[in-house]
Amino acid sequence: MISVGIQRAVRLGIRSLLLHKLRSALTTLGVLFGVSSVIAMLAIGEGASEEAQEQIRRLGSQNVILRSVKPNEENASSGARVLTFGLTHEDYDRIVNTFPGVKGAVPIREIPDEVRHGQIEITPRVLCTTPDYLRVTGREMSRGRFISEVDEETIANVCVLGHETARELFPLKDPLDERVRIGADYFRVVGTLLPRVRLMGDAAEAGSEVTGEIFIPRSTGSSWWGEMLARRRAGSFDMQEIDYHEIIVDVGDQDNVLFVANACREMLARNHKTRDYEIVVPLELMLRREETKRIFNIVLGSIAGISLLVGGIGIMNVMLATVTERTREIGIRRALGAKRRHIVTQFLVETVVLSVGGGLLGIVLGLIIPTAIEHFANMRTIVTPDAPIFAFMISAGIGVIFGIYPAWRAANMDPVEALRHE
């Protein structure tokens, strides 16, 4: 019974509003834009944050990543033909052997050499690493296997191809058990990796060797390439002596990450004269990112709140005008037996219809905008299912809150005065 009454009230409300189509349409605009901007901004914020979190997560929230960084030219001993810097074997040993809370560490050394198969020659990152790499980074195999302990011990000439490298070197055939040449030596392909989740922040397309990777055992790398790495730069050779380009410290327990990170910081500061390293703590980045997101959400919430408030005030303003304009109608209804609550309901329903109507259109627009942004601006957006629901409830709430006063004004008019109006 009640729902039938409400249905009728809504129907009549819509008809009253349709009497002034343009005015009603304009009135809903405030809530419409408010709601759609809330949804759109939430979607953009959520997308950006998800993107960043994804990037950070890929580094591993349980890891501490140490990287070698070429020191500033001035600091480097000038004139020296060989530049020695970065993470050392000693650093690695200290971390693995003496740090409490460290489960293991994966060293990575990058070799500047080209990779060939038949006519195809590319320059992916040639990475010398240990079997743990796979587990610690959470990468997954597509085919075959990763570098094994046996490979490491036997200094085997085997390699594992990253997804892009595999595609480029073997566009037509199965790379497994094929041979590729790295520098002057031949390596047997024992496996290929699955692509990393592509993120929009990544280098745009395949063909860019930057993202290509090829993995060989650490021991093999050391024995073929030795300590010295020659890097071709601007026509001349640039000799560098770097033990490790990167050490991924696997802490295993997220609770110990910050502790281990600090220990690494102190240890490196003590043992390195120049700042030829950097420390990346994905967890810290993540936490910082969470904080940024929280602030972002607060700012966003305030902006959205203000725009919705403005929308609500707009509706209230129009409803107050409507009530005045329809004073006579109110008088007639009262004379014909309408109680105060009937009048309150009538105007409240009209306000809620306006705001919810604006809200619904706002949701539609709010769902279109992120899609458009994704399409045209190549930005990731995520519309969480609760955003439209939230927006809908907010718009209904606005209708009630900003409708109460006009409705109350209407209901408390003196019937005789109201009938005499105009």
């Binding site: 008809r15 009497l19 109608e329 009262r334 014909l336 309408a338 105060r340 009938l419």
Partner: protein, 237 residues
């Protein structure tokens, strides 16, 4: 609180006054007014402008309350009713007809006729059929889905009469019901009133036109909020 001594009394006013206080000035729109309106009477209430006709009608219609004195509708003292009870009373016992028709613009004729039913707590399920019948009766059977703006003044007023009849009221109150109509259309409306009177309805018609007054059964003249004269045609003949 009830006075069922004479059930043929529809509305009874006992020493009613209605005072408007506007700053320093005090207007006694109705002063020490006592009268009984009997069931089935057809009254024309006349008097110059400002004599208190509308004030009286508003009080009788429970849209307003006396400043002092008692007003009983079918034996119930209005003073003992709250705002909701008065609304209830209006939706069940009273029928209003206004000078400017006062149909609700966004509702079609049928819906307009049904408005009083809308506000009843337990509406009669047959009301819609009755509304159609009433529309037929006032000659608007083929117009029930028209909006008021699509009708002439006379048609609108006839719709308003149908609306006043939908709840089978104890008392029909008409304030200058023909005031906005030309003579011809006014006559048609008055004929409707005659019919209603013949059916035994109680009608109070406020007017300042003598010709209209002549049509009524009885005539009451007001002056400065008091009864100036009462002419009962039954007495005359």
């Amino acid at each position: 609180m009830t006075n069922n001594g004479d059930s043929s009394i529809v509305a009874e006013l006992e020493a009613v006054s209605r005072v408007y206080q506007m700053g320093e000035t005090r207007v006694e729109a109705l002063a020490d007014f006592s009268f009984q309106f009997q069931q089935g009477d057809y009254w024309a209430i006349m008097g110059s402008s400002g004599s208190g006709k509308s004030t009286l009608l508003n009080l009788l219609g429970c849209l307003d309350r006396p400043t002092s004195g008692r007003y009983l509708v079918r034996g119930t003292d209005v003073d003992e009713l709250d705002d909701d009870d008065l609304s209830d009373l209006r939706s069940r016992e009273l029928g209003f007809i206004f000078q400017s028709y006062n149909l609700i613009p966004q509702l079609d004729l049928l819906e307009n006729i049904l408005v009083p039913i809308l506000y009843q707590d337990n509406p009669d399920p047959g009301a819609e059929d009755r509304a159609r019948t009433l529309a037929e009766r006032v000659g608007l059977g083929d117009r029930i889905h028209h909006l008021p703006s699509e009708l002439s003044g006379g048609q609108q007023q006839r719709a308003a009469i149908a609306r006043a009849l939908i709840n089978d009221p104890a008392l029909i109150l008409a304030d200058e019901a023909t005031g906005n109509l030309d003579t011809q259309t006014g006559q048609e409306i008055l004929e409707l009133f005659d019919e209603l009177h013949a059916e035994g309805k109680t009608i109070l018609l406020v007017t300042h036109e003598p010709e209209v007054g002549d049509r009524a059964e009885h005539v009451m003249r007001l002056s400065d909020g008091r009864i100036e004269s009462v002419v009962r045609k039954g007495d005359k003949s």
